[in-house]
Symmetry: C2
Amino acid sequence: MSDLLERLRARGWRMTSQRRVVAEVLAGEHVHLTADEVHARAVERLPEIARATVYNTLGELVALGEVVELSMDGRAKRYDPNAHRAHQHLVCSNCGLIRDVRPSGDPLAVLPSTERFGFAVSKADVVYRGLCPGCARAR
Amino acid sequence: MSDLLERLRARGWRMTSQRRVVAEVLAGEHVHLTADEVHARAVERLPEIARATVYNTLGELVALGEVVELSMDGRAKRYDPNAHRAHQHLVCSNCGLIRDVRPSGDPLAVLPSTERFGFAVSKADVVYRGLCPGCARAR
DNA sequence: TTCTTGACTTGGACAACGTCCATCGTAGGA
DNA sequence: TCCTACGATGGACGTTGTCCAAGTCAAGAA
């Protein structure tokens, strides 16, 4: 977490109280928050922080590669602070719970060149879907 | 395309001119349209069709499994009429072009049970990302 | 064919999420 | 300490999608 602040400062990121709070909120809980959830938690520490500032800061963190943006369904984007470790996501089809998972092997390997249509393919984002233990039990 | 209309009728779907036009628009072009694009094309054939009707109809087609809904980035959802053939998507990181692709093997196979955390995992949605030939050339 | 009825459509208000912009404030170097 | 360019503010605005009450119509019954 202060790792994150260190890295940002080293990159010449101008440090403001707002940016610090947003970074701390993200690093503090290893869940996948929406922008408004980040804003709600940030407001607890810095009451007058603006929604636009949270959006701006999240966008910058994504551009810097420090945070991964997830657009799961048609709902609000979620922000994943676990950007330093390659992983995919496992999502409950019922309640929306998200877990980080690490498949074995490279997901890109299963896409033959005949199926790449001349694209320079550089990554694969995988969303595994199913029922989480809680929702499966409730059925 | 009339395949689609046949299947829908066989399932007891009440056939209206609006539903017919939406289904025809989807089946007619094998691209991935947004709801508003579907509406725009539908209006050319049936000037007074309402936006809400297009949304309703698309939602029903998705529920029936005749169309796949894609939430790529944070933008509008796209609708893929190619639901009868299992496939994944290849997306240009620059221009957003989408192609259907068929990876070899089952993407679920690479997720070990120790990484499933008790979920009953039933499917994997994969988005391969990279530059399409046109965008790669323009760089 | 006409009647009947419940499913479908309409259009406009509303809501969620996100962006933009003019103005104000301040971090950090001189 | 002072300057100034970069960041923050907050409210208007845009896009995408949902909801609802009232009107319309497809399709089976007679």
